[in-house]
């Protein structure tokens, strides 16, 4: 039975089949190795669910101090982040978070990071519903053009990526230095510090291991030893002489370990354990109480038209009329051209400068409550995969709405709620 299966299979091993297999293999190798690798243009933020990106961290006022710099030059990435009140149940709250940078490897090194003015080289806690100011000081290390994002990692929630900007670095990484002053006052270059000794130490031991292995291999090899063992003469292979060699080797090894250990303690008499622990008490932005509220009254998303329509009851309790100027979610900015007469400096792939309109363009007067419809429509909504909201387990949108008075003063209000998907153009809203 078994032989018949083998024989049946053997019939298929023809010269033609072998040629076809070889050709397929060659095509696969060519397809996977020959084309030039293209640089990553994003850090996977589009792969994250829309509801998660819209209703966790709302990034705004993001600024990159430079988009072109030389190796060893510093840039600053600043901005604000609103911790969304309607934080999704599916994601752990940012009780343990870390301010990070989305970049393809350490092409820029992080020289400093601050949240609310507090240095945060370690993880920290954020409060839901609050806003925080952040700052990242980055030093150019490797030449090239890279997409650099701000990012906050949330424990059990994953990385939440903010807007990204293309940064061009000129020069050569071999000129990069990373000077650091130790507590004893000496300055070292962290880029190369201790690397030569690390190589020497590791390769010393690896060479010793290779000598040990080859010594035993060269004395009787493998096959001859197998025959001896099979012949019941295993004990003759390891006699007193061999044990003596082993004992001496072990003594030398242990003495070397002891010597290296003592030398390290002598050279570095003051060492500390690594530092860790959650940083608490990060101050949120001290904002005046808002004079505007927006109550969600329902919404829909038309998938073919890439159009988000939201009904809001907006109350202006301030002393100046307000116009709806911007909606921002998941790092995208949708602007009302009635309010933004010029295009702000922001990455184009995230800026829909004509992406927002309102059903009633008249300013909301002080003391007035007005029901109005906000329409967000732009291809970027779809390109950045926010339209996938229709297919999420929690089809609630979220974001920040910015309203402006005639003097340009900005009011911020959080909006969000369930939206009903419309899968056909012109479907009832």
């Amino acid at each position: 039975m078994k032989s018949s299966i083998v024989q049946a299979l053997a019939k298929y091993v023809t010269a033609r089949a072998v040629r076809a297999f070889a050709f397929g293999l060659a095509v696969a190798i060519t397809a996977t190795t020959l084309p030039a690798a293209t640089p990553a243009a994003a850090h996977g933020e589009r792969s994250q669910q829309a509801f998660l990106r819209m209703r966790t961290l709302n990034w705004y006022d993001v600024k990159w101090s430079k988009t072109e710099l030389n190796v060893n030059e510093e840039m600053v990435l600043t901005g604000k982040v609103h911790i969304f009140s309607g934080w999704p149940q599916a994601v752990a709250k940012p009780e343990v978070a870390f301010l990070n940078v989305g970049e393809p490897g350490p092409v820029l090194v992080r020289k400093g990071s601050y949240v609310g003015g507090t240095p945060v080289p370690r993880s920290f806690s954020l409060q839901v519903g609050k806003d925080y100011e952040y700052k990242l000081v980055l030093k150019a290390r490797r030449q090239g053009r890279y997409h650099v994002h701000v990012q906050i990692n949330v424990e059990s929630g994953g990385p939440i990526v903010g807007p990204g900007q293309w940064i061009t670095i000129k020069g050569d990484m071999k000129d990069f230095t990373n000077p650091v002053t130790l507590l004893d006052g000496t300055t070292i270059d962290l880029e190369t510090y201790g690397i030569t000794w690390t190589y020497i130490y590791h390769f010393f031991w690896m060479a010793a291991a290779a000598v040990w292995i080859l010594y035993w291999f060269m004395t009787k090899g493998i096959i001859a030893r197998y025959w001896w063992v099979k012949a019941g003469k295993a004990d003759e292979l390891i006699g007193q002489n061999e044990k003596r060699i082993g004992g001496v080797t072990l003594a030398v090894v242990l003495l070397a370990v002891l010597g290296f250990y003592a030398a390290a303690n002598k050279e570095f008499p003051r060492t500390l354990p690594m530092q860790a622990g959650l940083l608490k008490g990060i101050e949120p932005i001290d904002e005046p109480a808002p004079t505007v509220t927006a109550r969600f009254k329902g919404g829909s998303y038309t998938v073919p038209g890439r159009e988000l329509k939201v009904k809001l009851a907006i109350t202006n309790s301030g002393d100046a009329p307000l116009k709806v100027g911007e909606f921002t979610a998941a790092g995208l900015r949708f602007l009302n051209p009635d309010v933004f007469t010029s295009k702000p400096d922001f990455p184009d792939y995230l800026l829909a400068d004509r992406g927002l309109s309102v059903s009633d363009p008249n300013p909301i007067a002080p003391g007035e409550t007005r029901e109005m419809e906000i329409i967000v429509q732009d291809a970027r909504f779809d390109i950045e995969r926010l339209s996938d909201l229709a297919y999420d387990t929690d089809s609630q949108f979220g974001g920040l709405l910015f309203l402006f008075d005639p003097s340009g003063k900005r009011q911020k209000v959080e909006i969000g709620g369930p939206v009903i998907p419309r899968f056909a153009a012109g479907a009832a809203t």
Binding site: S3, P119, P121, Y193
Partner: protein, 256 residues
């Protein structure tokens, strides 16, 4: 008619001469050594990266509690299995040394080519744990005692105890202190902070977490003894695993 001028082995003999026979044995020995080394390198590397992973990848994960606990325990698996194979089949006292050397060669290729060559992480962030002297220890304890039971008990304990002192000569320099914006950091912490890892946030580190501190403030000895005890148990299991893996099975001709 054959073009070869060589003559075959005499009738009834497989080999023309003793020299030819010995040459064939030596060549096969070398092939075996290289193949075995490559197989152990690949399999141990996967095993160790999956189980020790970040503790072995990054300098700012190499703490005094979790790293000296996890790394020796998971490294013991292949060391014991390889000893079982090399000792029982060949009486070669090189099992543990061979696998740790294979692992380190694989790791250094990975760290240099991938971590440094492709993603530019400096070597002082990504160098692997040193393990070679532990390999010597385990092999020589087995050779001198001739007993896998003694090796499990004495060798296993020493395996755990030796790990931190072996690594300290490289690690010590990175435990010097510095201060950034009023925050105290070791150089190991600072390297991890400076050289951005987008997918590795700081909170993933498990720096001296756990309940072993119940036994006192001397973190490393407690972790090392614990690692030693668990390594003993792992040794027993994986010695048997190695024996099972190195069993030769034959198929009867009528079965194929």
């Amino acid at each position: 008619m054959s073009l070869s001028t060589e003559t075959g082995a005499p009738a009834g003999k497989t080999w023309k001469s003793k020299e030819e026979f010995l040459g064939c044995v030596i060549l096969t020995d070398w092939i075996l050594l290289i193949v075995l080394f490559a197989v152990l390198l690949g399999s141990f590397h996967i095993h160790y990266m999956l189980l020790a992973g970040d503790w072995d990848f990054w300098i700012d994960f190499k703490d005094r509690r979790m790293w000296p606990t996890v790394a020796p325990i998971v490294a013991m698996c292949f060391a014991a299995a390889a000893q079982s194979f090399f000792w029982q089949r060949f009486r070669l006292p090189i099992g543990a040394t061979t696998v740790v050397l294979a692992l380190l060669i694989g790791e250094w290729i990975n760290r240099y080519d991938n971590f440094w060559g492709w993603t530019f992480f400096p070597i002082n962030l990504v160098f692997p744990s040193a393990l070679i002297p532990m390999g010597f220890w385990l092999d020589i304890v087995l050779m001198v005692s001739g007993s896998w039971l003694v090796t499990a008990l004495i060798g296993g304990l020493g395996w755990g105890l030796l790990f931190y002192p072996i690594n300290w000569p490289v690690l010590a320099q990175y435990h010097q202190a510095t201060e950034i914006d009023g925050v105290l950091l070791t150089l190991a912490d600072l390297i991890g902070f400076n050289y951005v890892r987008t997918g590795t946030p700081e909170y993933i580190r498990m720096v001296e977490r756990g309940t072993l501190r119940t036994f006192g403030k001397d973190v490393v000895p407690v972790a090392a003894f614990f690692a030693g005890f668990v390594s003993m148990l792992v040794y027993f299991l994986w010695w048997k695993m190695g024996g099972w893996f190195s069993t030769t099975k034959y198929l009867e001709s009528e079965e194929i």
